[in-house]
Amino acid sequence: MTEPLVRPRRKNPLARTRLPTLPPQWRSRTSHELTRAAAEGRFALQCCVACGHFTYPARDACPVCLSDELVFKDAPRGGTVLSETTLHIPADVYFRERAPWRIGLVKLDAGPTMVAHLHGDSKEGDTVRMSLQIDKAGQPVAFAQPQTETPHMSDDKQWREMTADPKFRRVLVTNGRTVIGQEVVRAMKEAGASIIFVGIADAWKPFPGEMALRAMDGVTIVPLNTADEKSTFDLAADIGAKVDILVNTSEHIRGGGLLDRHGTSTSVDEIERSYMAFLHLAQAFGPVMRMRGADGVNSAVAWVNILSVYAFANWPQFGQYSAVQAACLSLSQCLRAELRPGGVRVMNVFTGPLDTEWFQTVPPPKLAPRVLATGLVRGLKNGLEDVFVGDVAEEVHQRFAANPKALERELGQ
């Protein structure tokens, strides 16, 4: 049985904050197909096109029929723990600090045998549910957990290393003026976040949902205008060392493409409130979060961006919006690389049109803000990097993977 997580006590100010260390981090280029699957929460293995056998680890030829046509494909998640090993004094610094650490050999229903990190409730002989997880170093690793829910299952020490569960963590939601921001606050509260800081820009302007937000227990309203450099740095100076999960809910959606929009002031606004906002947040909060990646139960653990799926391919109806989102996507990759030494993950949540005011004229399906927020929290609980919430996001993602040129043409029709 998993020992339930205890709400961490206040930190001893005399104790040194331990610096983050990382597990080993080399993979072959082929193995990064596993990274892609792990980032999206899929369990994919190489599969032989000729004979249909799954194989692991990644190879150039099928070990059964020697065909070189191996493709990564979602595999059955079931398996059985053949043996387990507990590492008491590992040589690697990361694991040594977290010892004892359990790993095991798992015979997959798909065929191959895999070395996996073991959930505390999975013992030798047990059937398990397999997943690929992104570890602190950003590499895909196999994880075996019980097939059915056990008490306090998500509190498992090894599982928590693979995820960014909001439980007992302190969250900053950067813009609470929007429906999205407010739904994220609610979802974080339900997920057991200990404090939720909510940024409010231009406090002199009232906004819908303000009373409810201000009355919410566990919510601390903070002044934050992410489009403004000083405001963002001022807040980081105050609470930067208390932010374990930052959810960038900066949002500025305006319709329109390139040629029928007069002047550039709307475009400048879009860039300021999305791209520059992200940049200010990253420069203000990134360094301290990276430094706090191993700071106990409530260590800094994740940075979340909510991005449009049209960051991948321009949707001319919202053409300039798409372009700014593409810039934010690119910036998120830079941030991911720069936060990695701290073991802090960057999760991008991609959406199609939302069921909000600025997508009023767009026909359904449109994503409800609540669904987006729960998808975001689910992504954190499962330790994902790329989350596609809703049918439109999912479809655009698949079409982009299949043929980006076709997607471009079709969106432009």
Binding site: D202, W204, K205, N225, D228, E229, K230, S265, T266, D269
Partner: protein, 259 residues
């Protein structure tokens, strides 16, 4: 050597006989700007981006880039700002006559009334009552409306409700009257605009803008410290930035008050 009036003036400033009152708000990123429906173009608030601060981007010096709207913070409205003044000569901040940048002011104190009613409207009878006490408003004078609105916190200052801003200002008749019957050089307020908060609903809409700029006159808004000015006799120095074809400009507004 003969003493010129300017030498007397310099002596008066030095001795404190003439006091300088700063009527300007600090340009800061959180100072409210005019709020328009979100689908139309918006005024940009003050933004300050650091270039360097004695650091690797400039080891010995500190400076910033700034971006802001022509109508952010304490600012000046030129006639070209409004459709009624678009065809007038010298109607932009770069062409307006420099002698208009220094002019005397009449200050009408409505702070008690505005304190009781956020929708307080300045009317002709109120100005006539003021004239009965202080004399007729002379031509080419500023009329400054004191409401003490500048003393409020930013939220109460903007005072946005579901039906828009509720801030004091002039009605249509008084603006027509001040411009055409009294020949004022301009009208100044403590609120975000020269017009009443709900002035979209007046006839014509936004009458201060309509009448002032249509007659080539000016506006000053987001003023403060009007409570330090006498009803008459203060001299206003308001020189906008010389922005090419500019519709207005943030500026430092000074009042010279003689003791």
């Amino acid at each position: 050597m003969d003493k010129s009036p300017l030498q007397d003036f310099a002596a008066a400033i030095a001795s404190g006989k003439v006091r300088i009152v700063d009527l300007t708000f600090t340009l800061s990123p959180d100072f409210p700007v005019i709020v328009l429906p979100p689908e139309v173009g918006q005024a940009m608030p003050m933004r300050i981006q650091r270039i360097s601060r004695y650091d690797d981007a400039g080891p010995g010096w500190y400076w910033n880039n700034i971006t802001l709207c022509e109508h952010t913070g304490t600012h000046f409205d030129a006639p070209i700002h409004w459709h009624t003044g678009k065809d007038l000569p010298n109607n932009a901040v770069d062409t307006l006559p420099p002698q208009d940048m220094i002019a005397p002011a009449c200050v009408i104190d409505c702070s008690v009334e505005a304190g009781k009613d956020a929708d307080f409207l300045l009317t002709v009878p109120i100005v006539e009552a003021w004239e009965a006490k202080h004399g007729r408003i002379p031509e080419r004078h500023w009329v400054l409306l004191r409401t003490d609105w500048s003393k409020k916190n930013f939220r109460d200052y903007a005072n946005l409700k579901e039906d828009g801003a509720h801030t004091p200002g002039p009605n249509a008749e008084v603006m027509r009257w001040l411009v055409h019957e009294r020949g004022i050089i301009g009208f100044g307020t403590e609120t975000i605009g020269t017009d009443w908060g709900q002035a979209f609903h007046l006839d014509p809409p936004l009458p201060a803008h309509h009448y002032l700029h249509g007659a080539g006159r000016y506006g000053l808004q987001c003023l403060c410290n009007l409570d330090q000015l006498p009803p008459t006799g203060a001299m206003i120095v308001s020189a906008p930035l010389k922005i090419e074809n500019g519709s207005g400009s943030p500026l430092r507004v000074l009042a010279l008050v003689s003791h």
